[in-house]
């Protein structure tokens, strides 16, 4: 338990720092790389939460595919690889109070609702088979809908990005 707790806090601090860099850095490519750190950290937290399959999917889909997309997007829009000065809005300070208010609201709600409740200690790792039984059983219809969404996204992306 202690080892897991230590792991959690190390990853959590890393994630928060990296997330702050994503939204503050002046370099688009750096932001993408910091985002990789956050996503990898999230994958680590999923493993701590006994969700192996989701963690692996996270690594494959997010870090593998989505990040490549982001880097391609950065390059195709010919953003400068170096630092840029006009990435932020003129009124970016408004974001700080909004974020803080949200944090306070959620923090209050969470403390009140879950207080010092603990996660079950002897959590069994959820196997891939259980997840697939869920997906192809009671949640088959959302799966179909999702397939259509992906199909539409593929076609849409091609149509949007085509040059003619």
């Amino acid at each position: 338990m202690i080892a897991q707790n230590i792991g959690f806090w190390i990853i959590a601090v890393l994630m928060i720092v990296a997330a702050l860099r994503v939204v503050t850095t002046n370099n688009v490519v750096h932001a993408a790389l910091w985002l990789v750190v956050v996503l990898a950290g999230a994958a680590g937290q999923y493993i701590l939460l006994a969700a192996e399959f989701v963690a692996i999917t996270q690594v494959l889909v997010y870090i593998g595919a989505v990040m490549v997309l982001f880097l391609f997007g950065t390059m195709l829009t010919r953003a400068r690889i170096g630092a840029e000065s006009d990435l932020n809005n003129s009124y970016k300070k408004l974001g700080i109070p909004v974020g803080l208010i949200m944090l306070v609201a959620m923090g209050l709600a969470l403390t009140r609702s879950f207080g010092a409740e603990k996660l079950p200690d002897s959590a069994k790792v959820v196997s891939t088979q259980e997840v697939s039984d869920q997906i192809f059983g009671p949640y088959l219809l959302p799966f179909w809908a999702l397939s259509f969404v992906l199909l539409a996204a593929v076609i849409g992306a091609i149509v949007l990005a085509r040059k003619d």
């Binding site: 338990m1 897991q4 707790n5 959590a12 994630m15 997330a19 994503v22 939204v23 688009v28 985002l35 999230a42 937290q45 999923y46 701590l48 939460l49 006994a50 969700a51 989701v54 999917t57 996270q58 889909v61 997010y62 997309l69 982001f70 997007g73 953003a79 840029e84 006009d86 990435l87 932020n88 809005n89 970016k92 974001g95 909004v98 974020g99 803080l100 949200m102 944090l103 959620m106 923090g107 969470l110 403390t111 879950f114 207080g115 010092a116 603990k118 996660l119 959820v126 997840v131 869920q134 799966f143 969404v149 992906l150 996204a153 593929v154 849409g156 992306a157 091609i158 949007l160 990005a161």
Partner: protein, 99 residues
Amino acid sequence: MYVNQFLFLASVLFCIGVYGVIARKNAVLILMSIELILNSVNINLLTFALRNGSTDGHTFALYIIAVAAAEVGVGLGLVLLVYRNKKTISVDDLSEMRG
């Protein structure tokens, strides 16, 4: 491990993502901030799945990852198109809807 430590981490990530969406004007960076928000939701789902001993949360987390992939694909397609037409991806310059 407390339930709240995961949930707090998720809310901190969420708020950072919200800040990013508000503060950034580069479209690609806004998309990245949205990814932060989506990931914080996934952490929540998996925490509750563990707490309640069900696998529903896993299913939905996977669906969210898939939807996020689709969203990034279409989003970047839009960004490319905007760039091609406007030679900029700063969303502040896209003010045709000005009232």
